[in-house]
């Protein structure tokens, strides 16, 4: 009896290792035949850490993407919802410091911007594998807005998932004509005191609003491209803080306080305390109207002097033990079908991270036939006035400068 029990115990303990190939060694996967990678991944699992605050996005990931992974590859997708992406990076960072090089808890993170910079600088990312993905052909790496993540070169350390471009939103029932440029907005704030505010940087969306004012104060983005330059920064920064300090007493609550997050600004907007909100991803306004967060009269719009665009990505940590399954997941996410599903307004309504004109004709037709949510601004219209993101050095200097000169 006892030997049997021990044998059973040993079997039950060791069987997962028998079924699941350990694919923590990334170098063995790069350039490997795709079918071999799929076979290595089959029957395994992948742990994807991502912001979890939207039921529709969660359903798309767990039900649609998780369904494809299970049905086609037998891979179990564990979606781990985060309140803040930094939490996942802290796990990987802690593991690296403790010497965990092949058995990390995190297989994939939805990421961009500062978090990507942290992972790249701290050598937390697995890099150089993008050519191995069959759907890599759908990505336009020659586009600088894809090859650079907030000014940091991607260098094969992540693959794009969605594109987004900053847009404002207003309620047509309350505001007749919204200001369509930064100068117009500044005039509007002066004419309508107490009706506008923005989240304090380092909030992601608050910081990008401040950068729009910075571009305006610098007389355009052209002089700001390239490496951080202290002299050029100082000139534009002084003018920016003057503008923002001048409007401060005219903001919501006389500027005595700023919302601490975009969520708080959205709440103020929904409850008619302020006239505008904004988001890096205009599809949020469609989802917000669908969930009843905003009235149907809410519309999003771009600026004639342009709004800043970005791309968000998925990244695989260096110590992921399930790299083959993570690759399969990335390839599914990049597939024309999954990108099309995600573009449907009732699913998410976001702009694809792949080039639609490289997909099969019937997918292209389906993309063309998508009816946008009426509250979401037309991405093509928005893209006509797209502004680039600055390099990381500029972005952190502007955030720090705001905190010292305006937020203090």
């Amino acid at each position: 009896m006892r030997p049997t029990a021990i044998a059973l115990l040993t079997l039950s303990l060791s069987s997962p290792a028998l079924v699941l190939a350990d694919t923590s060694d990334g170098s063995a996967l790069i350039g490997q035949d795709w079918d071999t990678i799929v076979e290595m991944a089959r029957g395994g699992e992948v742990n994807w850490f991502m912001w979890g605050g939207s039921d529709t996005i969660n359903r798309y990931v767990s039900d649609y993407v998780g369904g494809v992974l299970m049905d086609d590859y037998g891979i179990t997708l564990n979606r781990i919802g985060l309140t803040d992406t930094t939490e996942a990076i802290n796990i990987v960072l802690g593991e690296k410091e403790a010497g965990v090089t092949d058995a990390g808890a995190v297989d994939m993170i939805w990421i961009n911007g500062e978090n990507f910079r942290t992972m790249k600088q701290a050598d937390l990312a697995w890099c150089g594998y993008t050519e191995t993905l069959p759907n890599n052909v759908l990505i336009d790496w020659t586009n600088p807005a894809i090859a650079n993540d907030f000014g940091v070169p991607v260098d094969g350390c992540e693959v794009p998932w969605n594109r987004a471009q900053f847009a404002f939103a207003y309620d047509t029932a309350r505001t007749e004509t919204p200001p369509r440029s930064i100068p117009e907005l500044l005039d509007w704030i002066k004419a309508n005191p107490g009706q506008f505010t923005y989240p304090a940087p380092p909030d992601f969306n608050g910081a990008v609003f401040v950068r729009h004012v910075f571009y305006h104060a610098a007389g355009g983005v052209e002089g700001l491209l390239g490496d951080f330059d202290q002299a050029r920064y100082d000139a534009a920064a002084a003018a920016t803080w003057d503008i923002l300090n001048e409007i401060e007493p005219l903001l919501w609550r006389e500027g005595a306080t700023y919302p601490t997050s975009i969520t708080q600004l959205n709440g103020l907007f929904a409850n008619q305390e302020v006239a505008f909100t904004f988001d890096y991803d205009p599809s949020q306004f469609g989802l917000g109207v669908q969930s009843g967060q905003y009235p149907e009269t809410v519309m999003s719009y771009g600026l004639t002097d342009g709004t800043i665009g970005n791309t968000n990505y998925t990244i695989i940590p260096f110590n992921s033990p399930n790299k083959a399954a993570a690759l399969v997941l990335q390839n599914v996410l990049l597939s024309a079908e999954a990108q099309l599903e995600k573009a449907l307004p009732e699913v998410w309504g976001t702009v694809p991270g792949i080039e639609v004109d490289r997909t099969p004709a019937e997918i292209q037709a389906a993309f063309a036939g998508i009816e946008r949510h009426p509250s979401v601004v037309d991405p093509a219209e928005l893209a006509q006035n797209a502004l680039p993101e600055l390099q990381a050095g500029w972005i952190s200097a502007i955030e720090q400068g705001w905190i010292e000169n305006v937020g203090r």
Partner: protein, 273 residues
Amino acid sequence: MDRDPVMLRTLRGLAGLALILWLVLPLIPLAIWSFARGWRFPDILPQSWTLQAWDYALSDTSGVLDSLTLTIWIALCATGLSILIGVPAGRALGLSTFRGKGLVEMMILAPIIVPGIAVALGLHGVFIGLGLTNTTTGVILVHLIPTLPYMTLVMAGIFANYDTAFEDQARSLGASPWQTFRHVTLPAILPGIIVGGLFAFLVSWSQYILTLLIGGGRVITLPLLLFNFAASGRNDIAGAIGMIYILPGVLVLILTARHLTGRNAAIGGLGRL
């Protein structure tokens, strides 16, 4: 104690009513939100009602029901272990004086004074070294760090007002150590165990960052799911998950309420701590 007992009772009743209102009133908007589709200023009530938030909260996708069982299990284990460690520790702190006692008290309080994220990141490294990350066991053990200070301090307060002469008397009358504990010590300290245990349960119940870091996303408790939606402004789904989230706490409170009336002499304040 020669006050008019009727007046005292009325006052006590009014205070009780105020306390109940104070506790229940904030829960009413939470309940309304969970059925609301669009509830914005200046509407007194939501524009329309829907079961969408509950539909999501109870779906497999949200994982709320799975995590409810797991969260209860973790909180119960953390409470049980807190009692096992906190009662002897509290006895030592409450009854004896020794060199460095002040330092020990400081060390016990440290985890709830030092900022949580600093503690969490340091503990992450320690738990990786011990091979306890990404497991339920690891999460239960790490919850002891915030729960033990409460348990130990409550028990130290109880034992500060406790007279060991009762135990000596029982022993001199022929009771075994177990009988002495069972019939003399336990009845005297039980209210303290219940209060301390309640603290421990609720503190474990609400852990976020420790669970996420040490659990590594393998151990998903309710706060992890709730905070996603609370932070993203989805008050409807946060309301539905929140209603589920408060259930065990309310249940534990009801079950232990009769021990918390304050009439029991053994709850004698928190001693000198």
